[in-house]
Point group: C2
Chain length 392, copies 2
């Protein structure tokens, strides 16, 4: 696209070429993470008090620093900076605020269980997914390996922020966001943007979720944007989410034409005995309506192992809510669970579809537990596993 070519030209002529245009990447040196500047916070932030329980709920606490990288079409990317965590001056007309031109991504960073060194789970998959979401909003592109180096720098600076709470695995969840700061109204490719990364220390809590199926509303559509992590995909779900929460549910299971898509940020999995007597773990097909999260990808890629260990066939296909309900009624539904980077595997104890309820509360969840442990063990295990990237 012309706009990208222009950008790349701008970047080429700029002094700083840390991030680069897709088309001109071969013309660039790949060693610009060396430009990373660190401005240390003094004094450091106070960490939450853990005496009265676990204050590390998802999304509430952030570490001392963040990564900030600004872009403008004229000069390309500024040098990446690690700066004290805080707010920034935002144009009231910024097109992220008026037209939802912002894309985010989440990355799990945990501690290696033997060495205590921070390591990331499938970070390159997350970074590639982030890049695709960026391209969908015509946000300027970047080199994912260089961005990874910046994230390594941030984790290094703030590694003492891992929550240390007995019996709970903890993470430094990396939230990446790339927002348009372009201060003119009109739906167009942004000429000014800001890419940033923050660290949210939290603990993996296993929760038994109660969920309600969406009614007269859908999360995404066959010609829509559900496969991307765009900010605008989630806010408009609030009417259904608020209604579900006000009625004692934790989340919504999003359907279209009674086919199951996903929960708000978790992919879903139904473990059942089918009518031929075979054991299947079914996850909805990746038809552009669902986000192909790293937990989902991992379970699909571990299909052979799961078959061997648990005699369960992992299947990716269309899944109707009525198939799940019938399996439940016929006592063939064994487990139903969700999975996402930020929370790992979460069992579902209750599922409401109109006036029908699937109640699995109190039941054992052997497959969910098995997969949860298996994934956690890879995340926190030897750093030579292909899904693990040491960060120090």
């Amino acid at each position: 696209m012309l706009s990208k070519q222009l950008r790349n030209l701008a970047i080429k002529s700029s002094g700083n070429s840390f991030f680069m245009g897709l088309r001109s990447s071969q013309m660039m040196t790949n060693q610009q993470a060396k430009d990373l500047k660190i401005e240390q916070r003094q004094p450091k932030l106070q960490k939450p008090n853990t005496q009265n329980g676990d204050p590390y709920a998802f999304g509430r606490v952030f570490t001392d620093h963040m990564i900030q990288i600004d872009y403008n079409a004229e000069n390309g990317w500024d040098a990446p900076k690690i700066v004290p965590y805080g707010s920034f001056p935002m144009a009231i007309t910024a097109s992220s605020l008026h037209y939802g031109i912002s894309a985010y991504e989440g990355i799990t960073v945990v501690k290696n269980k033997d060495t205590n060194a921070p390591q990331a789970f499938r970070v390159r998959d997350n970074l590639n997914s982030f890049k695709l979401s960026n391209e969908h909003l015509d946000l300027p592109t970047f080199d994912t390996e260089e961005l990874l180096k910046c994230i390594q720098g941030l984790v290094k600076v703030d590694q003492d922020w891992f929550p240390n709470i007995k019996d709970l695995n903890s993470q430094l969840y990396v939230r990446l966001n790339h927002v348009s700061t372009d201060p003119t109204l009109g739906v167009k490719s942004p000429r000014f943007t800001k890419l940033y990364a923050i660290l949210n220390p939290n603990t993996f809590k296993k929760k038994s979720l109660k969920i309600k199926c969406s009614q007269d509303a859908s999360k995404s559509w066959p010609l829509g944007h559900g496969q991307y992590r765009l900010s605008g995909n989630l806010g408009p779900l609030l009417p259904q989410l608020v209604d579900a929460r006000n009625n004692g549910f934790d989340d919504v299971l999003w359907l279209l034409d009674d086919y199951v898509h996903e929960m708000t940020v978790l992919n879903v999995f139904a473990y059942m005995k089918n009518r031929f007597g075979d054991y299947e773990l079914i996850t909805p097909a990746n038809d552009g309506c669902i986000f192909n999260g790293t937990i989902r990808q991992s379970i699909l890629e571990m299909a052979d192992e799961i078959q061997k260990e648990k005699k369960v066939k992992v299947v990716e296909r269309s899944l109707s809510i009525h198939e799940i309900i019938n399996a439940y009624k016929e006592e063939r539904l064994i487990e139903f669970f969700g999975g996402a980077t930020s929370s790992n595997i979460q069992s579902i104890s209750r599922l409401q579809f109109r006036d029908q309820t699937i109640d699995l509360s109190g039941r054992p969840t052997p497959l969910a537990d098995h997969l949860n442990n298996k994934l956690l063990s890879i995340m926190t295990g030897p750093s030579d596993h292909k899904w693990v990237t040491p960060l120090l």
Copy 2:
């Protein structure tokens, strides 16, 4: 919804009750716009130079001041303020940036052609529509009449900003935006928000648009959010928009299953002779997939007049792109045009659907011209018209 009740309680107990909860509005006095504080900009901004043409393109120039009103769930709404136009400090975690929790609206303010006094076109319809969009994101609600008084205050302060360019009608386009400033991650009802209004002086330019039909992408869906002005509805359209613009088009005509929805911000109208020999002005039905803009509403409400003046029946119904193409081939398509608050009526001279082109360039556009003049004449005419609200 519980969250709204809690908010309303919070607002009731707060010192400032300028804006109020929907459910408690009857318990509130309606005279709180008196709290409006004005901080004058000194010195004033420099206005653009009009010597070399018209610098007042849409969305680029803004006036000296803006309205800012902050909300927090604890204390409700702060007193509304008119402050110098500028940026504001934004939490890097604000849920408008991560989850698209922001809703906007546009209002046309023009000068009365006899008295030169500023007046707004269908401002109450715009404010009600803004309120609906806010509710869809569970943003805190407000009294539209009180907000109108603030807008009047802003226009009064900056009324010398109407562009004065020969032969061009000008407006102070009011852009309202309400964004979540809630600094915690997670998709939930915002506890901190900022509502603001800015004035964009621009001129109504008549342009002959070239548009391309969307392909393998849609703008909205039957169970989606197309009837609201949510920020997240527009950014994800960029891939198709950029592609269209790079190929010489001005905009995209969004289809679903080959049915016409709307352009990116304009509703559309096809003027044709149908197969029974009757003259019809057809606009796609309001089935939740389109935004029912005020120009669209006005044309529908003027149906009887249009029938009388032009012998054209105004029809709201499903409209397939193939019906338009066939009408063109059979020489029954007379005009095709778009309409929106920000730009009034805009003729379409070329429409591309896959490998088929409708070329109307060079043709007269009598109905578009008639409606454009009719609407402009109401906008700038006597302020006792039901669609006109004097602002001073």
